[in-house]
Symmetry: C2
Subunit: 424 residues, 2 copies
């Protein structure tokens, strides 16, 4: 019997029954979904459009056209206002600690640089080889510019961060530990409280990338000892391609930290436009330039379904979806040459499941072109299947695995053109 | 006789005649304008919404909802694609030198830091006290972080940069000269070729902020010796509140310069997601994080009217609009206690006109609340009137000056509530 109470080879009617019993089933109706279209299992890369987001964006365009410059009376507060809603609904953080602004990359740069400056004399940044590229590149660039060393963990590509290895890597010379809460390839989930505590024990600051975590996994930034965090809003938070990212800075640290990009939205009494940078004493000092208003409106709309569904219920559904996926993998796909590239232990896993195969890229293209299933691919050979609990169904998972099985059985995937390169 | 061929006190029918003869009059119809609404003279702060932009944004939302992750096949090229269009239409630059990305503040930071790194041993940045706050703050922050000195010109608040004073400030220790092409308060316009040449003579790099210039004044970045430039798209370019900014890096410099925020959109063969940052050899190395797709679509739409009207014709109209405004100021407003806070010489002026008055803020509020005119305010006492040649009419200028005159004559402006603080 599996964690979701099914026999080892669930049938399609088992999946249908799970959907019928799903208390969150109706949240799918919030989204614009063409039910004759493909099965979308890439909400962990780019989330779906909701009707509310479309409406709010149209309203925001109206507001720009109508109010023009007077709109700024409200817009200039949006970064913190939407940040507070995100903090309360998704991040497990009290108000005044989150701002929605810039890209994940730029926010990571700002906070990591601020952390280095707050630990003068310490010369090491600890990261992870398995982390998302932009995180590694940003840290590499900062290390090079500040004369620091970047020490990368060699985590297991499937199981993620090993606490003993991390303990060995973090020392009294470590200024900053910067890790993803959830690994972008394997969905391995770090133990936030334990890792944060380990960094703190050596006097380092702890910066989390929540991009594959927020909106899928319950987060408790305040309770779990995060000092700093960043993340994107276009995955599980459904705010659209390239929507603005967020940053979190724990209250107690805000006055001690100074980020490097001294822009006018961080300035105290900003519209006095005075001489000399004198940053706000609060989260606003981590802002830089003029905020992207349409993007902020989309983030605000994206938060709404989470406020309604509740992250704990979404997480319970997510675990059931990924458990079903792994059962089907074991029953059907493993015998056909696939391997599980995500942690088997549900306590170590987040909301997507990766499946490795030596022809992973070709299989990924075949799923899209021949089987009406949209996953994504991660080099060298991993297919990511990300059911988003707000709108993905158990039958979607069942059908996707079934179609993947058939492609493997028939060998049809060998006939697709795999010359096109992965994008995203 | 004025530069536009009018007697010293033009009548409203003179203004109507200028509108009737205006070859660009029809471009107003591209924008969503409620003709019973206020006269909007703040397009230099936030441009108007066009029908095309509304439609393109709606299409982009559709595309997100429909194509989902597959949309990135096209979106990932947008930053450079839209940059090339902006370069050709507005900036006077050849292809491959402009990217639309991030905010003006972040772009200024990236390019200024890259310039400092490219001039090792040189320890001075030259800026201007009169420049927009975010520019000064960014340079101040970089100077503090890199052990450099920020040397600020004390330019005349009305006339702007003095070439002799600049020549005295730039020396062999100057790494970077960073100035606005057009001053945000006075609209004083710098001589780009002469200033750039002056910086180059001492071996410094030249970085221009074009925010108050692009879309209003003809630019010739390639010909006028700009090394680097940044600017926003929400003013004359009409791309909406907080739309993404752009950056320009001259071809010859691209391989020598390395910006500090090493993000995945700057990485060669980005989607291989490999170890070690290895930036693209071209303009893409100045990108950082995931691009704001809706914002980029709005910038692309915003460029369209410029492609149709042509920047030279817009500039001719702009000069006629500001000349009319100054004539009316001289005839009506100066005798009532106003002073011209923009250069009188049209060869030194850009597209807006600032009028100083010791009760400037109160007058600004009175124009908005009592007279149906939207200008903006710049501390300490300046009202900015920015007729945008794509959609502002000569009668708008005439009526705005007439209403300002009446407010001053009646003293009604003294009765408005001026306790509210300026925002934007």
């Amino acid at each position: 019997v599996s964690p979701i109470g099914l026999t080892t080879e669930p049938s399609r009617s088992d999946a249908e029954e799970l959907d019928a019993l799903d208390p969150l089933g109706a949240s799918r109706d919030l989204f614009e979904i063409d039910d004759v279209g493909a099965i979308y299992l890439d909400g962990n890369s780019l989330g779906r459009l909701s009707q509310l987001t479309r409406a709010r964006l149209a309203d925001a365009v109206d507001e720009w056209g109508r109010r023009l410059i007077e709109g700024w009376q409200d817009w200039y507060r949006l970064a913190v206002h939407v940040g507070d809603r995100l903090a309360a609904t998704v991040l497990g953080a009290g108000p005044g600690q989150v701002a929605v602004t810039d890209s994940t990359t730029v926010n990571l740069y700002k906070l990591a640089d601020a952390a280095l400056a707050a630990r003068p004399g310490r010369r090491v940044i600890v990261g992870d080889r398995e982390d998302f590229p932009t995180d590694r590149y940003v840290l590499e660039g900062l290390a090079a510019a500040r004369g620091a060393a970047l020490r990368l963990l060699e985590s297991d590509p499937v199981e993620g961060i090993d606490l003993d290895a991390l303990a060995a890597a973090v020392d009294r010379d470590t200024a900053l530990v910067c890790l993803s809460h959830v690994n972008y390839r394997s969905a391995a989930r770090a133990e936030m409280a334990a890792v944060s505590e380990l960094a703190h024990r050596k006097g380092a600051l702890m910066l989390w990338d929540l991009s594959h975590s927020a909106g899928a996994v319950p987060l408790h930034l305040d309770d779990d000892g995060a000092d700093l965090a960043v993340g994107c809003t276009y995955k599980y938070l459904n705010a659209g391609p390239g929507s603005p990212a967020y940053l979190y800075v724990r209250h107690e640290l805000q006055r001690q930290l100074r980020q490097p990009i001294w822009g006018w939205f961080g300035q105290r009494d900003q519209f006095a436009m005075g001489q000399g940078y004198d940053p706000e004493p609060d989260i606003r000092r981590f802002l830089a330039g003029t905020p992207a208003v349409l993007g902020l409106v989309a983030v605000d709309a994206g938060i709404e379904p989470f406020a309604q569904a509740g992250i704990d219920r979404l997480w319970a559904k997510s675990q059931a979806l990924t458990s079903l996926l792994i059962q089907l993998h074991d029953a059907w796909l493993a015998p056909l040459g696939c391997r599980l590239a995500s942690p088997r232990d549900p306590g170590r896993r987040a909301a997507h499941v990766s499946i490795g195969h030596h022809e992973g890229w070709r299989l990924c293209r075949a799923l899209i072109e021949r089987a009406g299933v949209i996953p994504d691919f991660r080099a060298p050979d991993v297919i990511r299947l990300g059911p988003a609990p707000l709108y993905s169904r158990f039958v979607d998972v069942w059908d996707a695995c079934d179609r993947l099985r058939r492609l493997l059985q028939s060998g049809e995937y060998l006939t697709v053109d795999a010359s096109r390169r992965p994008v995203t």
